[in-house]
């Protein structure tokens, strides 16, 4: 002990510790080094044939080698290499050398000489290539060492003339990865002449082997990636490669051209066969555009993708990409787009009924028609019409990027994007809708375009429809007819797919607030008001009517003249909707009569609106009045809970907070009620029956606390403490009730033990929060802990009972943002009268489609439960891929559930619902006391319990007996 202390003293001054560690390290080294390499050596010596040796090497390669013993192993391998005649074994050794030199903590410069040495004597091309690969590994490991890099580059240059493509490939790769970046670094005094790496690589652009050509281009790209500035001369070389016979060469060349065009956008290049000159970036753009109609789709995808990132290109080149001169029998024809535009500007609707509608107009001079445009002409027209959807998607993406940077181009590409809404592949449709949304602030939709866009609203895919709603939210429409059209189509959509209700309302909200002046002339028509007659009051529950009102009210917000057009019932409906759908209906300043609403002056910031205040006040009231007599407290609690629930229903943005608080209050209420039971006043054995209420209360509190903990997103640690505290109280209650109602002491021992453990656990988890819990149940409990540990169960129960009764009501601080997790099952709708028939013993797949709101990490928590009529319950874990994330806080589950059962005599309903699985232990690692790793991973992933959080849907099924 004394020695130890002494040592500690030294430590503080001299830091001996480090030395000690080194000693240990060296010891280890000595232990492992001989064993590893020696075993290998023995093995290799034993090997009689090359095949044997190869086997040993393969076995050896399976195990990792420590950094310390690498060098020894390398020596042995090299030794064997010199002796070996079989090229395959040499190849394996060479590859092992490469692998070993990658070992972390090993500096491979010592084996470089040997590697270069053996390289010079090697005859087999394959082994040579492998050795160069090894050198590459060594070289990349030592990026700082200039001399080594130079040497390696030299070696690579020497072998560039090899006849095998593999060796040339590797040499080029080596050059690309290690070619010197700055020439000035090398001193002139040294014999190593500075090589122009770019020139050397460039020479191999015309190699006879396509693989080498590709490698050369790749090496060049690698140089660029490492920060070397490529010469502009490469541009011409690369352009030649665009007409190469091999697709991989063309594909790489397209990339190279793109790189050069980004490096020298402004330099001028001549146009062959004419005296004109254009900017390099324009020229490159034209060339890449040309590749969009290449024969290989790989190249087409590559080209289409790169087009999107060429933003410096001049606008007239850009606009050419959408240009395709039509002709028919040598006469100029207008495209459908142009016709549509003309019809629109002439103010007429398309008749579209004449055969000659698209009749060609003027004659074209045969000489001027250029069938193969050199340049950008029609690149996107081709790309968007491509056979492969990969190309189409790439083209749409490129279109999006270019349109974002150029408003005029955005306007022009609109027609084409709109056309893509009718693509045969859903992915492409979705992509183009998203693209349109992204560029929507640059564009205004014409009526005919809007028509096409709106036609997609009838799509049966919910994803598409929702994307389209999002798009409409931020679209600019040019005319009032457009707005009307949009509204009509949206209402049609609503009747066809009632589940889209919320999305459509939201969409109309934005549509209205963006186009107040366009909505204004439509108001009388929309509200079907008549100057002389009173019209029937529409049904307030009709979603379509609500949709119209949402549009109008949002438009009225910035258009003060509009309310004058409203009829009486409209104002009443406004008041109702402002209450019930406050997130959709804005506060309006209505003339005169609506003083109540106009009192809500805009000076009050939104977070201070009265409903929030009300919430705060009612909670305050509860917390301040805790010392009231039990009867009063109970009444107050009940009242407040009712208020909160109502508030939650009315104000959806406060629903989370309100529900959360209400749940907490309900727990408290239950606890109070349970403690008011007569049970406590009477001798234990007499009240067996009545104890039901208390134990049920305890159980319910437990459930509610789990809900509070896991069903709300945004719950912070301070709430968790309170929740756990409540749960602890419930557990105490349970213990007391059991003690009261059971005879005999034996079962109590276990329960007490368990409870005390829980308390201990609580203390460990939330020790930082304990100071906030003063005067609470737990605070007192912890004070008495030593006494409890030693006393008998009966005494423990007694203490607990008194403490529970004395415990105060803890204030639950409200979190900033809290949302209750909820789920709606859209599919199955549960309305079908036709049972799903299937043969018993086999399975039937049931499509489940649900939206989840505010669920954190749904992939691991959300489960599907199927309840059969016989009480059998089945839990299904959906695949992570079944969840989609359409927006923040929202998830969508689209999965298939397999049902199976033995034969039934008649169809019956099964219930399907969604569960939220939780595991309270998973919270533990968050607390600073317990280091990760103590809790076994199995515990973390296991499910402790589940909370149903969606309405259950009934599905009619009928397993038929199997026919023999």
């Amino acid at each position: 002990m004394a020695a130890h202390l002494k040592k500690r003293v030294y430590e503080e001054f001299t830091k001996v510790v480090q030395q000690q560690q080194e000693e240990i390290a060296t010891k280890k080294l000595r232990l492992t080094k001989p064993s590893k390499s020696a075993a290998l050596h023995i093995d290799l010596c034993k090997a009689t044939s090359p095949a044997d040796a190869l086997q040993y090497l393969l076995q050896f390669a399976r195990k990792p080698v420590e950094a310390e013993s690498v060098e020894g192993v390398v020596r042995i391998l090299l030794e064997h290499y010199y002796k070996e005649n079989d090229p395959s074994v040499r190849l394996k050794i060479a590859s092992l050398l490469g692998l070993l030199s990658k070992t972390a903590g090993f500096s491979p410069d010592c084996i470089m000489d040997d590697a270069i040495n053996i390289l010079q004597n090697e005859k087999s091309h394959q082994v040579l290539a492998q050795l160069l690969d090894t050198l590459l590994a060594i070289g990349t490991k030592l990026p700082e060492n200039q001399a080594i890099q130079m040497r390696l580059v030299d070696v690579a240059c020497k072998h560039l003339t090899d006849t095998s493509h593999g060796v040339r490939n590797k040499c080029l790769q080596l050059l690309g990865n290690l070619g010197s970046l700055e020439k000035s670094v090398t001193k002139d005094g040294e014999g190593l002449a500075v090589r122009d790496v770019q020139k050397i690589i460039g020479d191999y652009f015309s190699d006879q082997d396509p693989r080498v050509r590709t490698a050369a281009i790749k090496a060049m790209l690698q140089l660029h990636e490492r920060g070397l500035k490529l010469h502009q001369t490469i541009y011409n070389q690369a352009c030649k490669l665009l007409s190469d016979d091999y697709e991989q060469v063309r594909s790489a060349a397209v990339q190279l051209i793109w790189v050069v065009s980004q490096l020298y956008p402004e330099s001028i290049v001549p146009i062959p066969s004419s005296n004109e000159e254009i900017r390099l970036v324009d020229d490159a753009f034209g060339k890449i555009c040309h590749m969009v109609s290449d024969g290989s789709w790989v190249v087409r995808v590559q080209a289409a993708k790169l087009l999107g990132s060429m933003e410096q290109v001049s606008s007239h080149f850009l606009e050419q990409t959408l240009d395709k001169k039509l002709m028919s029998d040598l006469r100029r024809k207008r495209t459908a787009h142009e016709r549509a535009k003309e019809l629109y500007s002439s103010g007429e609707f398309s008749s579209g009924r004449k055969w000659g509608d698209d009749a060609p107009k003027e004659e074209i001079d045969t000489g001027s028609v250029n069938l193969i445009e050199s340049g950008a002409c029609g690149a996107f027209v081709h790309g968007l019409e491509d056979e492969m959807y990969e190309v189409r998607i790439a083209a749409v993406e490129a279109l999006c990027m270019l349109a974002q940077s150029s408003p005029s181009f955005a306007e022009k590409c609109l027609d084409f994007l709109v056309d893509m809404f009718n693509d045969e592949i859903e992915e492409v449709r979705l992509q183009s809708i998203h693209t349109m949304r992204k560029i929507s602030n640059n564009i205004t939709l014409r009526e005919d375009q809007l028509d096409t866009v709106l036609a997609v609203l009838e799509d049966s895919s919910r994803d598409i429809r929702e994307a389209l709603h999002e798009l409409l939210c931020c679209t600019n429409v040019s005319t009032k007819e457009g707005i009307h059209l949009a509204l009509v189509e949206l209402l049609k959509n609503l009747t066809k797919y009632p589940t889209d209700r919320d999305s459509i309302w939201k969409c109309l909200k934005f549509l209205g607030s963006r186009h107040p002046t366009l909505v204004l002339p439509l108001v009388p028509e929309l509200l079907s008001t008549h100057p002389f007659f009173d019209t029937a009051e529409p049904d307030m529950d009709d979603p379509a009517y609500i949709a119209v009102l949402v549009l109008i009210f949002n438009a009225a917000k910035t258009c003060p003249t509009m309310p004058a057009l409203f009829s009486d019932h409209t104002f009443r409906h406004y008041a109702y909707l402002r209450d019930s759908l406050s997130h959709l209906v804005p506060a309006l300043r209505l003339p005169g009569r609506k003083l109540v609403s106009s009192a809500v002056s805009p000076s009050i910031a939104p977070h201070e609106d009265p409903s929030h205040q009300f919430l705060q006040q009612s909670l305050e009231r509860v917390y301040s009045l805790q010392h009231l007599d039990p009867q009063g407290t109970q009444e107050l609690l009940e009242l407040t809970i009712r208020d909160l629930q109502r508030l939650g229903e009315l104000q959806s943005e406060l629903a989370g907070v309100a529900d959360f608080s209400a749940t907490y209050l309900r727990c408290q209420l239950l606890l109070i009620k349970a403690l008011q039971e007569k049970l406590w006043n009477v001798a234990a054995p007499l009240y067996l029956k009545q104890s039901d209420l208390a134990s049920a209360a305890a159980k319910q509190i437990m459930e509610e606390t789990y809900k509070m903990e896991f069903m709300y997103s945004g719950v912070e640690n301070k709430q968790v403490v309170i929740i756990h505290h409540m749960r602890l109280q419930a557990k105490a209650l349970q213990l007391i009730v059991t003690a009261r109602t059971t005879r005999g002491v034996d079962p109590l021992f276990g329960m007490c033990e368990k409870f005390l453990q829980e308390v201990d656990f609580f203390q460990r988890c939330f020790i930082t929060d304990l100071p906030h819990l003063q005067d609470s149940f737990v605070d007192k409990l912890l004070d008495l802990m030593p006494r409890l540990m030693t006393s008998k169960p009966v005494e423990v129960v007694k203490i607990l009972q008194t403490m529970l009764r004395q415990s105060t009501f803890l204030h639950l601080p409200l979190p900033e943002q809290i949302h209750k997790a909820s789920a709606t099952i859209i599919e199955p709708a549960g309305e079908s009268d036709n049972p799903l028939r299937f043969t018993s013993g086999l399975v039937v797949a049931l499509d489940v489609d649900a939206t989840l709101e505010h669920v954190q990490d749904p992939q691991s928590t959300v489960k599907v439960q199927v309840l059969y009529p016989d009480g059998q319950a089945q839990m299904i874990h959906p695949k992570p891929a079944d969840f989609r994330n359409p927006g923040p806080g929202r998830h969508r589950l689209i999965t298939q559930v397999y049902l199976s059962h033995t034969a039934w005599t008649e169809p019956c309903q099964v219930e399907v619902r969604l569960l939220l699985a939780y595991n309270s232990n998973s919270r533990i690692p968050k607390s600073p006391w317990i280091e990760g790793g103590e809790v076994s991973p199995q515990l973390e992933t296991s499910i402790e319990g589940t909370i149903p959080f969606s309405k259950s849907v009934k599905v009619y099924i009928m397993p038929k007996p199997a026919r023999r």
Partner: protein, 600 residues
């Protein structure tokens, strides 16, 4: 001079009865064997007597290739093989082989049963003819005989349409048949690799047209149908049974699926059902979307499209009906049209071209009152729409294909002369290749310069490699060797080996030359001067002064002797072998210039 000869028997500056004869390197191939729709006499079939007047066709033709199942490409096949008589192989793709007999049988029925023609081919003949067919796969190289090989490429157009490459040795011809460069709802786009043929024979139906994007067309079509159905109208789409009909079906089917529409769609003919069956089978020939999704559902298994019954036409409510024939001139489509024409809610959509004189043409040109047989007048109140759905490449597409294949010359068929003229000019201008457009019966002769492969012995190659630098693809290299032609193959071997193989003794050939040199000194000294001079000039060569007074440069011998008459002149005797001709002649010219003045 080797040449490729092409003679169109049909489709030369014309559309219909495609039939093109190609002779390439001594092989004769017939491409397509179609009928002409415009004629009902002998002119409907190609004039096969052009090939041979009295001999058997089989002796003159090596093979027949059919590009696709349209009758103007295969309609004359049974006549040609069974009635004229041809027993050689007929090549076509699997779908063509499957669908072709259905169409031939249909054609026969109309000609014989309806029109009552005699001397027409029979059902048995169609069967016998199909027995001669050899089916090929895409990109499969088929050896017709030892030298002739053919290969099929995807052509779009209709199911199973293919382009064929015909190759003998290094000469090749590509025949496109009909093709489509833009993909449609059920087929992909034509594709060919850079095969660089000597001749590309391409169709040119739309030589002077550049078409609008297909999306606009599709959208218009769908919109019109949708609107009509929504207003409770009935839509009639007259189609021909195969090809476009399937595309339109898929288009409507997917649209119905997407939009969740409920109105029924009917398809009227039995022939199509049979053909649809083949469309279901040959999934690999369809486009990406159908190929990718057929595991879930085969797109040709229509959910919404049902078989039509005559009685359905009177059903109330909206419906869409596809009915044959396509030009409304007879049959079911006309019947339905008469029933529905009176209601302005209804609509007829003509998806293709209509020949003059047919009802289709009349209504398209705006006629609203039609005289039917029996002096009835039918008033057309229904809406009439025209949509062009055609699966031929437009001018841009043709140029694109020419660009992809990089041929040495192009030949246009299957199009109108006036339009071809334009395209021809464009092709010559942009690709700088010759372009031809022969009329029927006109022969185009195309000289070729086929490359002849020569085998080289490894020994010789290695020796040459060792001498010179690395081979450079761009620079020609001089190589000494002997070319041996034996059994029509060529070999390049070293001369020693050639001598050995041929059993010949080697002849030495030496050139000698005398050079007169003015030099009063002794012979030895002259030789010495010559030696030093040469030594200084020819630094790369081995110059030696032999003890007997002569000088050697490599293997060239130079001897100096006094002139017999003039002692002041010395005669230099230069002698070299044939192999050293280059160096020898250089030396003589060098020596003739005289020696430099001795420094003395």
């Amino acid at each position: 001079m080797p040449e490729i000869r092409v003679t169109p028997l049909g489709a030369g500056q014309d559309v219909g009865r495609s039939c093109i004869l190609v002779s390439i390197a001594g092989k004769n191939v017939m491409l397509d064997c179609g009928m002409h729709m415009g004629f009902n006499d002998d002119r409907r079939f190609p004039d096969f007597s052009y090939i041979t007047r009295n001999g058997r066709l089989t002796d003159f033709l090596d093979c027949v290739i059919i590009s696709h199942f349209h009758l103007d490409h295969c309609g004359a096949l049974p006549y040609f093989s069974e009635m004229v008589g041809y027993d050689g192989p007929i090549y076509m793709t699997h779908p063509t082989q499957a669908i072709c007999p259905i169409l031939l049988e249909d054609y026969r029925k109309i000609a014989v049963d309806k029109k009552g023609e005699a001397n027409f081919f029979t059902s048995q003949m169609i069967k016998d003819c199909m027995k001669k067919v050899v089916a090929v796969h895409l990109h499969q190289t088929v050896q017709v005989d030892d030298e002739l090989e053919i290969k099929a490429y995807y052509a779009g157009h209709v199911l199973g349409a293919a382009m064929f490459q015909i190759k003998v040795g290094s000469e090749s011809v590509v025949y496109t048949g009909d093709y489509n460069m833009t993909p449609d709802r059920h087929l992909g786009a034509a594709w060919i690799d850079k095969c660089r043929p000597n001749l590309l024979i391409t169709e040119s139906t739309y030589a002077t047209t550049i078409r609008d994007s297909k999306r606009c067309r599709e959208r218009d079509f769908l919109k019109k149908v949708h609107e009509a159905v929504e207003h409770g109208g009935k839509v009639l789409i007259p189609v021909f049974a195969l090809g476009r009909a399937q595309e339109l079906c898929i288009l409507l089917e997917t649209f119905w699926e997407r939009m969740n529409l409920k109105a029924p769609i009917y398809f009227s003919t039995g022939l199509t059902e049979k053909a649809n069956h083949y469309y279901k089978l040959f999934i690999t020939w369809t486009n990406q979307k159908i190929r990718k999704t057929f595991v879930q559902r085969n797109m040709f298994e229509f959910k919404h499209i049902k078989a039509f019954d005559r009685a359905f036409a009177d059903n109330p409510g909206p419906m869409v009906v596809f009915a044959t024939p396509g030009m409304l001139h007879a049959g079911q489509s006309l019947q339905i049209f008469r029933k529905w024409a009176g209601n302005e809610k209804n609509m007829v959509i003509m998806p293709g071209y209509c020949v003059q004189g047919t009802v289709g043409h009349k209504i398209l040109s705006g006629q609203r009152k039609l005289e039917m047989e029996g002096r009835q007048v039918l008033e057309v109140k229904m809406q009439v729409e025209y949509m062009s759905f055609s699966a031929h490449a437009d001018a841009k597409g043709i140029m694109q294909l020419v660009g992809q294949a990089e041929p040495e010359s192009v030949l246009l068929v299957h199009g109108e002369a006036k339009k071809m003229e334009f395209l021809k000019q464009k092709i010559e201008q942009e690709f700088r290749v010759n372009c031809y457009m022969p009329a029927n019966g006109e022969t185009v002769t195309l000289p070729t310069s086929p490359s002849i492969p020569v085998g080289i012995s490894l020994g010789l190659l290695k020796r040459e490699m060792a001498q010179g630098l690395l081979p450079d693809a761009k620079k020609p290299r001089l190589l000494h060797g002997t070319l041996i032609m034996k059994d029509s193959n060529f070999r390049l071997v070293s001369s020693e080996q050639a001598l050995k193989e041929l059993g010949l003794a080697e002849h030495q050939l030496r050139f000698t030359c005398r050079v007169h040199l003015h030099d009063p000194r002794k012979e030895q000294e002259t030789a010495m001067r010559v030696y030093s001079h040469l030594k200084s000039v020819l630094k790369d060569h081995c110059v030696q002064h032999l003890p007997d007074g002569s000088v050697t440069v490599e293997s060239i011998l130079i001897q100096a002797a006094a002139h017999s008459e003039d002692p002041g002149t010395k005669v230099l005797l230069v002698s070299w072998t044939y192999q050293d001709e280059e160096l020898g002649s250089y030396l003589t010219s060098l020596l003739k210039k005289g020696l430099p003045q001795a420094p003395s």
